[in-house]
């Protein structure tokens, strides 16, 4: 008996061997792909979502194998394809957003622009990532509100991840009077930053003159802090700097225009020079 001898109808031994090999290969490939995906996504996707994803992939591989077997059996699939196509279009239109969210979810898991626990801004929403599911991302806003964002929206939005890098720079702008000495101000502010654990030793903190304004000098104060401590460090150190400046008698002038008058000849005032100051708002 040769391989081309028909056994069942037109089916030869060779056809049966190919079908058997296709079935076995399909099961092996489906199993291997599932195993690989399980390893790759384990810990990144929730257990239940991962199970669903694995089953979809597993059955997709088997369906492809069945189609290959049909072609081996010379079964005309054109009718099935037309019917399947129409059903597919209907299902596709109906589940467009679901599929969009699913695909976006997979890409979010692969690309990982955010992780659980990260403080982020997605579009115009700020908060912490609570969970990344296959169709949606769960957030907790700073007000403690539960927020479910569809993955398609997350994927298409501008994402700002505040803790993706280990450190962030804090910047303050503080106005002081024109008469203040920059060296003295540095001598007050820098030790406050150097004494704080969360103003990092490196990159070193900086105090610079940023603007010589009409009514004030504007200091730019910059230091780096661990990203996770940003909010606490920013608030605590601003308070300490304010207290330090107040302790040294340095006032932050209120906004306004300052006009100086000097005594002119014969005791008449002239609108220039120095000495006593008046203020017009």
């Amino acid at each position: 008996m040769s391989l081309s001898t028909p056994l069942i109808g037109n089916l030869t031994l060779w056809d049966l061997a190919v079908i058997a090999a296709t079935i076995v290969s399909a099961f092996i490939i489906a199993h291997l792909v599932s195993l690989y995906m399980k390893r790759a996504f384990s810990g990144k996707v929730r257990g239940r979502d991962l199970d669903i994803l694995l089953k979809i992939v597993y059955w997709a591989v088997l369906v492809i194998a069945i189609l290959l077997i049909f072609s081996q059996l010379n079964i005309d699939l054109s009718g099935l394809l037309i019917a399947g196509g129409i059903v597919g279009i209907v299902i596709g239109i109906a589940s467009q957003s679901v599929v969009g969210n699913l695909i976006s979810g997979i890409f979010l898991i692969i690309e990982r622009p955010v992780s659980i626990g990260d403080e982020v801004r997605i579009g115009d929403v700020e908060g912490y990532i609570e969970d990344i599911r296959i169709l949606s991302t769960i957030m907790r806003t700073h007000q403690g509100i539960y927020l479910r964002v569809p993955n398609e929206k997350v994927f298409n939005s501008h994402i700002t991840n505040y803790v993706a890098h280990v450190a962030r720079r804090v910047e303050y702008s503080i106005g002081v009077g024109h008469g203040e000495d920059l060296k003295r101000l540095r001598g007050i502010i820098l030790p406050i930053l150097q004494a704080s654990p969360f103003a990092l030793a490196r990159p070193e903190p900086e105090v610079n003159l940023a603007i010589i304004g009409e009514d004030r000098l504007v200091l730019s104060i910059q230091f780096w802090t661990p990203s996770g401590s940003y909010t606490a460090a920013r608030s605590a150190l601003l308070e300490e700097i304010q207290r330090g400046l107040a302790r040294e008698g340095i006032e932050i002038p209120p906004p306004g225009r300052y006009i100086s008058f000097s005594a002119g000849e014969g005791g008449r005032g002239a609108a220039s020079g120095d000495a006593s100051a008046g203020r017009s708002p």
Binding site: V166, P197, F198, A201, R202, W224, P226
Partner: protein, 207 residues
């Protein structure tokens, strides 16, 4: 804060620990800056540096030992080693460079014996060392000490690994908070006895 502890048959231990337990676990590396050392090609130099320690309060029961509190007498300071996107937050300290173990305040500081080897074919400058928390093997007697090896492999690159041996005879292994913390936080594999780790690769510069 005052705490009342009922120890019963247990024993209360006050013990030096790695300097990473205060400050909400911000840092996982120790960085010590010291006066610059210039090494010729192929040279090996041993220096002694000081580093901050924290004090752990443990209760030792019949079955296990549990940590009650950790505090730092030394002022805590953090730093960034490397760039903000690829670097690490370090517990930062400055130290003088000594030829032998210097006297230290045992509640504040410990001693590192650091062996620096320049594997390059040119002079190298080094003024800082960064150690991974996992590489810190603390030993205690009348003071706390650890040993580390630094291999300079590029003008701005070095490998730093800890040596799990006491600095001198009579020193005992300090309580290890690292392993328990890593298991709980799942940040990195715990330290496994007998398994050598590669150590921390300093890619953010040596001075």
């Amino acid at each position: 804060m005052e705490k009342a502890i009922s120890v019963g048959l247990s024993r209360l231990l006050v013990h030096p620990v790695e300097p990473f337990n205060t400050g909400s676990g911000v840092a996982g590396h120790l960085e010590v800056e010291f006066p610059q050392l210039i090494l010729e090609a192929g040279a090996t130099e041993t220096v002694f540096l000081t580093f901050p320690i924290e004090i752990g309060v443990f209760v030792e029961g019949l079955r296990d030992t549990e940590i009650l509190d950790v505090f730092s007498v030394e002022k805590v300071k953090y730093s960034l080693y490397g760039s903000p996107n690829r670097g690490v937050i370090t517990r930062f300290a400055r130290s003088l460079r000594h030829r032998e173990a210097p006297p230290v305040d045992r509640t504040r500081e410990g001693v590192i014996k650091l062996s620096i080897r320049n594997t390059l074919s040119e002079w190298a400058k080094v003024s800082r060392v960064v150690l991974d928390e996992a590489e810190m093997h603390l030993y205690v007697a009348d003071f706390t000490a650890m040993m580390a090896v630094m291999r300079i492999t590029g003008m701005e690159v070095a490998e730093v690994s800890g040596v799990d041996r006491p600095l001198k005879g009579g020193m005992a292994r300090a309580h290890d908070l690292f392993t328990a913390r890593r298991i709980l936080q799942l940040r990195a594999p715990p330290r496994i006895p007998g398994v050598e780790r590669k150590g921390f690769v300093m890619e953010g510069g040596l001075s």
